[in-house]
Amino acid sequence: MEEFIFLDDIATADVAIESRGDTLEELFSASARATFDVMVDAGDVQPEVKKTLRLENSEIDGLLFDWLAEIIYLKDLEDMVFCKFDIKIKKDVNYHLDAEIFGEEIDQSRHELRCDVKAITFHLFEVYEKDGKWISRFILDI
């Protein structure tokens, strides 16, 4: 099951998140949902438009960093918020991510917008597997 929580007592001015999943795909989806939950009430966002993206990294933490950096970039580039993330991750020498992400164009009059996310940071950044769960902790710059 994928889930995320906001960690209150870390990085006062920014937002710290712990995300979890039974698989890497769930972990990446939970982390993306958490990132957009900072910016918008996802219940208002319809999965109308699809974007695809492909990433590769030799390290799993590097891949999660790249993934979050990419969806934050797409938010500004496409002027969109995203609510659904279909992800496939394969490993050979490197990790490969293929994703279809769904959302819609930002409409300030209709979406309940929150705080913009500027970037994913490396501060206290970690990804690990424990008791059959994938867990990550990361801090978003607000």
Binding site: D8, I10, V15, Y73, L77, Q108, L113, F125
Partner: protein, 485 residues
């Protein structure tokens, strides 16, 4: 205060963590704070400022200003100067919002003239200065124009009708820092930022209409030099940065530096402090790209100033020139700059990183425009939207003690989610209206996160640096209208 580290009291308001407290510290860490402010600092501040003290080439001390709080990499309020030959540059010492900064603008209007039209003014400014998630600017520029803006910053705006000739000398570095090189910026950064010129952003960014009250003028003579002439005068403050363009430049280079660390055999205690020698190809490229973002932030605040002039002109049906809408100054508080200081009796070139810290240059410094060279640099310190802000002046003491630096704001004490648990945006709006402050915000939850209770007492923060002689109080400014993302 929540730290196991030994923190020695050097004098009232100055504290020091000795080099022996953490393996690898090259210099001690110095924190400027009253007893209360030190007590309220979270443990991240002490961890982070001592991590900074371990970075190669650091000079004298790793410094933390009284608004210091837990950030990423450097603490917010962190200042460090590195030898330009032997030292490093780190994106984590500048922040993702490159050249986030403050601009203060005067008017000739009095509060009695503005109050009756305050709601129209707020509505007009809210329309003219897009804010919040998904805000796009209404100035369309081509890629080659954006590259020109990266090089010429506010100068480009003035030449293209978004400013007045006298604005040039009222912006730090004339609104364009030499050395920017657009070939060091990615296509991603360009595509991310090209539609965002003239937008405010979100989080703690704001555009505020403020009031000068007579009891809040601390230095009448310097206030006059800075354009604050009388009680009840209305001024405008803008807090924003380089938007998605700067955020992407920083993200791109954080990855470059993360990899370059291995190449240079360097390690850091926090991955966000990834760095490279300033004179290395990676360090030099980042510096040139960072200046592109810094110049675009000056341009962003310049376009917003133009929109402010248009909005006031429309609401008061008078030419903006006749309303005296003049810039006092514009200061960066997330940046690294090459500067010269006397260190151990010798003048030396250093790269000063300021992350959530403002320059506080004293009189005579050559970087200052002629209009302020005799009195010192205007220092603009933004407080929370409920408690007010300050205009201060830089001093010679700052040049000697803090690499010409001081605080940048009040500093948060409460996390965003904790603030939202205590305050609701709509209720806060009503409370502020009762206190005579009209607010218009894109996001109600974003508004709650910025409630005054989430911040330190700005007067105590400012008092710390005033008593120490690092930056002297000139005027306190009271908010009456606020626009937020």
């Amino acid at each position: 205060m929540n730290s196991d580290m030994k923190i020695n009291k050097i004098s009232d308001w100055v504290w020091e963590i000795p080099k022996t407290e953490k393996e690898g510290m090259l210099v001690p860490a110095r924190i400027f704070a009253s007893d209360t402010l030190l007590e309220s600092m979270d443990k991240g501040v002490f961890e982070q400022i001592t991590n900074v003290a371990c970075l190669p080439g650091i000079q004298k001390y790793a410094l933390c200003m009284p608004d210091g709080h837990w950030g990423y990499g450097f603490p917010i309020g962190g200042v460090a100067a590195f030898d330009t030959e032997e030292g490093i540059i780190s994106p984590g010492g500048i922040g993702f919002d490159i050249n986030c900064g403050m601009r203060l603008i005067t008017t000739d209007l009095k509060v009695d003239e503005v109050r009756p039209r305050l709601q129209s003014l707020i509505n007009e400014l809210y329309r003219a200065v897009p804010a919040g998630v998904g805000a796009k600017g209404d100035i369309k520029v081509s890629v080659s124009q954006l590259k020109d803006i990266m090089k010429r910053g506010a100068e480009w705006c003035i030449e293209n009708g978004y400013g007045w000739p006298q604005d040039r000398e009222r912006i730090e570095e004339g609104g364009h820092i030499p050395g920017a090189d657009s070939s060091k910026v990615s296509e991603k950064a360009i595509s991310r930022g090209i539609n965002q010129l003239g937008t405010l952003g979100s989080g703690n960014h704001y555009l505020e209409i403020q009031l000068v009250t007579i009891e809040n003028i601390f230095d009448e003579k310097i206030a006059k030099v800075m354009g604050i002439r009388e009680k009840d005068q209305i001024v405008i403050m803008v807090h924003c940065g380089s938007r998605g363009f700067g955020h992407q430049v920083a993200t791109d280079y954080l990855r470059v530096f993360d990899k370059a660390m291995k190449k240079y055999g360097m390690t850091v205690r926090d991955r966000e402090l990834a760095c490279a020698p300033f004179k290395s190809p990676e360090g030099s490229d980042y510096y040139k790209a960072m200046l592109c973002a810094a110049n675009s932030a000056f341009a962003n605040r310049q376009i917003i100033t133009h929109r402010i002039r248009e909005s006031f002109s429309k609401v008061f049906n008078t030419d903006a020139r006749k309303l005296g809408i003049e810039i006092v100054y514009d200061v960066a508080h997330n940046i690294a700059r090459v500067e010269r200081y006397k260190i151990d009796g010798r003048e030396k070139e250093v790269l000063v990183h300021r992350k959530g810290s403002t320059r506080s240059f004293g009189p005579g410094r050559r970087e200052l425009p002629e209009i302020y060279r005799d009195v010192g640099q205007p220092v603009i310190v933004g407080g929370s939207m409920q408690t007010g802000s300050y205009l201060l002046v830089g001093t010679q003491k700052a040049m000697e003690e803090t690499f010409g630096s001081t605080m940048h704001g009040a500093g948060r004490t409460m996390s965003r989610s904790a603030a939202k648990k205590k305050v609701r945006g709509d209720q806060l709006m009503k409370t502020m209206a009762k206190d005579g402050i009209l607010v218009k915000a894109v996001s109600m939850s974003g508004l709650a996160e910025e409630a005054g209770i989430a911040y330190k007492d700005i007067s105590e923060v400012v008092e710390t640096m005033d008593v120490l002689g690092i930056s002297k109080k000139v005027v306190k400014l009271k908010p009456i209208g606020n626009i937020k993302g």
